[in-house]
Subunit: 251 residues, 2 copies
C-alpha cells in the first residue's frame, strides 16, 4: 500500500504569472496532480512539470465543480499517495475558502500545507499605481466581499467610519447597491474611487472616478468582473499608475 501523500493549498497570486512565489512554484513542481480554479492563470502550469492538471472551475462554460466533490477528490488522491497542489487565484486564505478546505483535509488526517499568494486586491491596486495605505491618507486597508453568504451585507456604516481604504472583492454585480450604501453611510460623494479589472494581467484596465460617479464610470468604461473596487483617498494615485505602466512597457 502506498504511503499517504500531501496536499498543498497554493495561492497563485493576482494573475501575472511572475507574481507566483518561489514556494508555490516549487510545490507545483512536486505535484502529481494539480487542481485549479478558473481564476488561475494557465501560464503558471508550466511549473507543474510532472502533474496531471484538472480544471475544477467554471472554465468552458460548465457549472462550477461542487466544493464537496473537490474536497473528496483531493483527499482521495492524497490517500493514494499523490502529491496534490490545489491552486487558487490570489491567496487561499483571503476569500478563497481555503479555511474550509484546510479543515476538511485536516479532519481526513491528510498532511496539508498552505502557501500564501498575493491577494488579488492588493496586487491589483499596486498594478494600478495605488498604495493601499499611505500615512497621509488612511490608517490601514480593509479587504471586504461585495457579496456575502445568505445576503448578509458588510457593515458599510462602520467601514465608512473606519479610516481605512476599502478594497471590495466580487462587488461588480452589486456596485449600484454598494455605492448607495457607502453614500448613505456618510462617505463623501467626492471621495476618490477606482475600479481595476484583470489587475496585474496584460489585459488590465482601470478607471479612476469619485463615489458619486462610480456606477456611471463602470458603465461608460465597460468594466466588468473580475475586478476590485477601491474607495478612499489613495485611489487618486491611480492616474500615476497608468503613466508608470506605459513607461514600464516602453522600457
Amino acid at each position: 500500500m502506498s504511503s499517504i501523500g500531501k496536499i498543498y493549498l497554493v495561492g497563485a497570486g493576482p494573475g501575472d504569472p511572475e507574481l507566483l512565489t518561489l514556494k508555490a512554484a516549487r510545490a507545483l513542481g512536486l505535484a502529481d496532480v494539480v487542481l485549479h480554479d478558473d481564476l488561475v492563470n494557465p501560464e503558471i502550469l508550466q511549473y507543474a512539470r510532472n502533474a496531471r492538471v484538472i480544471a475544477v472551475g467554471k472554465r468552458g462554460g460548465c457549472r462550477s465543480t461542487p466544493q464537496a466533490f473537490i474536497q473528496r477528490l483531493m483527499i482521495r488522491l492524497a490517500r493514494h499517495g499523490k502529491c496534490v497542489a490545489r491552486v487558487k487565484g490570489g491567496d487561499p486564505f483571503v476569500f478563497g475558502r481555503g479555511g474550509e478546505e484546510r479543515d476538511a483535509i485536516v479532519a481526513a488526517g491528510v498532511p496539508v500545507e498552505v502557501i500564501p499568494g498575493i491577494t488579488a486586491g492588493l496586487g491589483g491596486l499596486t498594478a494600478a499605481g495605488i498604495p493601499a495605505t499611505h500615512r497621509d491618507h488612511c490608517q490601514g486597508v480593509t479587504l471586504v466581499a461585495g457579496h456575502s453568504r445568505e445576503g448578509v451585507e458588510p457593515n458599510w456604516a462602520a467601514l465608512a467610519q473606519s479610516g481605512t481604504t476599502l478594497v471590495i472583492y466580487m462587488g461588480m454585480a452589486n456596485i449600484a447597491r454598494i455605492s448607495r450604501a457607502l453614500a448613505a453611510a456618510g462617505i463623501a460623494p467626492s471621495t476618490p474611487c477606482a475600479v481595476i479589472q484583470h489587475g496585474t494581467l496584460a489585459t488590465q484596465r482601470h478607471a479612476v472616478t469619485t463615489l458619486d460617479d462610480l456606477v456611471e464610470t463602470v458603465i461608460r468604461e465597460d468594466l466588468g468582473s473580475p475586478a476590485v473596487i477601491v474607495i478612499g483617498d489613495v485611489a487618486r494615485y491611480a492616474a500615476q499608475g497608468v503613466a508608470e505602466s506605459a513607461r514600464a512597457s516602453a522600457g
Copy 2:
C-alpha cells in the same frame, strides 16, 4: 553620459525567503545596487548576484537611515544609469512608505516599477494556520497600524463594528492601550486573539488567547516585535496551525 537607470520598489514578503515572488527575484538579479530595510531576510540577497548591497535599516544598532537620504541616494544612482532594487519587508504599498518613495521617484523623472510582496500580516496569519477571512466568521479583513503618525489613533470603535478580522501591525508597544480601546469599543472579552512573532520564519512563535487575556499572554509567552496581533473569531484556528507546522517540519 550614461542613460538613465530604473528603480524597482520590491516587496520581499513576510520573511520566509521562499515567499519572494518570481518577479522580485528577477528584479534582484537585474540590480546593480540593492538598498534593503532591516526587516528583509538577508537570504533573499542570494538572488542579487551582481549587486552592491547597502543596508539602510537599523541593523547593527545604528539609527535608521533618514527617509529623505534613502530617496536621494536611489534617485542619484538611477540617474547614473544604475538599476536599483529598493527592497522592503512585506509589501511596499502596505505600511511600507512605498507610496511616498514612488512619488519622489516619479517627481524626479526616474522610471519606477513597484513589485508587490506578500504582506507580513497575511503571510503571518497563514503560517499560524489562521484564515484571514472565513465566510462562517467575518465579512473581510482589516490591516491597520497600531501606532500612527502624530498620535492619531485608528477608529477602534468603527473597526470593532466592521465585522472584519483585525490584523494589527506595529502594535506590540501599545498592546495594553489597544486591547483596552477594543474592549471599550464593544469587542467581547472572550473574542479569540492571536499574536504571531516572526511570522513565516523558522523562529516563528505564536500564541492564541482571548481579548481579556491578550496582554497577560504576551507577557507570559515573552512575545515581542516584530509581530502581528489578530483579533477575531478566525484566531481560534491558530491551534490547528501549530499542529500543521509540526507535521510539515517532520515530513
